[in-house]
Symmetry: C2
Subunit: 351 residues, 2 copies
């Protein structure tokens, strides 16, 4: 080429999973930042707070009292965006005004009884219990609902209003946008190339290595070639797996291990409990359980907002909202930084 260097020369990269592009302008990270600073998360979260509705023994908004749970704990979201029984919207009489019924269920799952813990500070056994609970919820709600979205909002910056370690599960009567998109792109790739897109991608990344963050016998984590968020990662199985419930015992253990290694690196990056939204995508469920979903590959997306430090985030605003996502360091630079970090949590390091 004509002396092209990704870390110096802006360029676009294609995201085959979302059929869109990202603008990579790595030289831009040099500009000074005088904008908004984020508040670091509180360091003094009490282990147990009877006024926190997620704690064991606490009273929730609906008046129910939580059991004294000792592992994970699942309960219905008291302010659900999706309920099982909404009526069908009326016909608007015009194709530009299209509404559709949306039904579903929203649940909350506490990871642990202690409010002052997060996944990277939990034991492998405790993380394994979370994975089992995810797989169970996916199977239970996926028996009838076509899509079960498991996601974790971590940190106030990511709209999380409660420091207690937890995630949410929203099951819906419809395929949400992101699911529709990944359904389309993976189906197309499979019919063109005869192999699941993300299986082929994982094999390539395992060879190329420059975007690898952590790997083990069953899993790998990469900063995807098309990452938009500065330290975004993609967690991928090495074998073809459709859904969480399909993971065998040893794969669940190795998943607990790789999640913990990734999340410790995340916390170590800026020595702060690293905020992110993460979630699982797998083959659709409900009526789709009867269909051939071989083009799907199970994976988790991690979308963390921080860019330069514990207090300086990336803003996906003007140009990003109106034109195209833009990033300020290359995925390879981000992966290299994450790779170089220790796998012992900074809070647990001997002084």
């Amino acid at each position: 080429g004509g002396g092209f260097r990704a870390s110096e020369h802006q360029h676009s990269r294609y995201n085959p999973l979302r059929d869109e592009w990202v603008l990579v302008s790595a030289h831009r990270v040099k500009r000074p930042w005088q904008g908004q600073l984020e508040k670091p998360p509180p360091e003094d979260v009490p282990r147990w707070d009877p006024k926190n509705p997620l704690c064991p023994g606490a009273t929730r908004a609906n008046g129910e009292v939580n059991p004294n749970y000792e592992g994970t704990f699942v309960f219905p979201n008291d302010f659900p965006a999706l309920q099982p029984d909404a009526p069908e919207p009326d016909d608007s009489g015009h194709p530009l005004f299209r509404a559709a019924a949306a039904r579903g269920v929203c649940k909350v799952m506490c990871f642990h009884p202690h409010s002052d813990l997060t996944l990277p500070l939990m034991s492998l056994m405790e993380i394994r219990a979370v994975i089992d609970a995810w797989a169970e919820l996916e199977a239970e709600l996926g028996a009838s609902y076509p899509w079960v979205q498991i996601f974790e909002n971590k940190g106030a910056m990511m709209g999380c209003s409660n420091p207690h370690p937890h995630c949410q599960v929203w099951a819906s009567s419809f395929l949400p946008n992101e699911a529709r998109l990944e359904e389309r792109t993976q189906r197309q790739h499979h019919s063109q190339h005869g192999v699941p897109m993300l299986l082929e991608y994982a094999e390539q990344e395992a060879q190329r290595k420059e975007r690898l963050v952590v790997e083990n016998e069953d899993w790998l984590v990469v900063v995807p070639y098309w990452a938009t968020w500065p330290f975004q990662t993609l967690l991928l199985p090495r074998r073809h797996v459709l859904r969480l419930r399909d993971l065998c015992d040893s794969e669940r253990d190795s998943l607990a291990s790789i999640m913990r290694r990734l999340l410790i690196k995340y916390d170590n990056l800026f020595q702060v409990s690293f905020p992110y939204s993460m979630g699982w995508h797998g083959a659709p469920t409900g009526p789709h359980l009867q269909e051939d979903c071989g083009h799907w590959q199970l994976h988790a997306h991690y979308y963390p907002p921080l860019l330069r430090s514990a207090t300086v985030r990336k803003f996906m605003v003007g140009y990003e909202m109106l034109a195209q996502a833009q990033r300020d360091l290359t995925p390879e630079q981000a992966a290299e930084r994450l790779r170089a970090l220790p796998e012992v949590h900074y809070k647990l390091r001997p002084q």
Copy 2:
């Protein structure tokens, strides 16, 4: 219907411009908020600050001294994400690793010499000058570049790092994602229905009225039927217009007027300088100037993050990033609230 009420019953609505859905769960606005609070913008911005690189007479990062400008002022972005001369990326040798050249130009435009002003506090003549400068930049950069993205990030919450009233213009050698998307959907609508989608939509909204915020002889502003952000609006011409440069003299005046009315309502909503990202979309330029772009209709999107008050925003996080945007009040409720607000700015109201 079976007793369906949009303000009570969750449902999905289709966005024909972006070919995606939004989940409307209006009952959700009732839940208490104990999450992150935003800092209101500073009230004491000095009118002139020689250390602010956007001020008249100030020195910029590259050492240049700004003229003592008295109206609008355009200069090159000192940290551009797009530069005119980046080399072509090398071929990765695999279809899942696709990069493309990205070239362009980034400019900054100050709206006014005073740092303590914003558009809603400026005179109609001053806003008209901004519109003329937009149209000129669009024509100048659009002579060669296929896309000229004009956008304003307003407020620290929207990643804006300088309180001085300004916008940005990024011109690119490619159609960004949002442009590609709107190109596809508008082209398809036009070929199916023989009329530009957003012209038909504006006519419908002018009749239906329930989502109207402000209107005049040439323009209307609606909370679109498919709005994702709580108080998102869409500014539409009544006649078929492809690009900013095509606006005649009186249309520019009426645009200044309707923008001012909208932005005063925005500020009055929570009695705060209302943060948002906004930007213009019109028919593509450069080589596309020679093509038939009759399916396009000029419009501006306003994406404001606030939900409940000056300090409580909507977080587009977990479910939104991984599945589908979700809103907590109906577009009709948002439009009604905006409509009811006075058209005199709260700061200029007689005590």
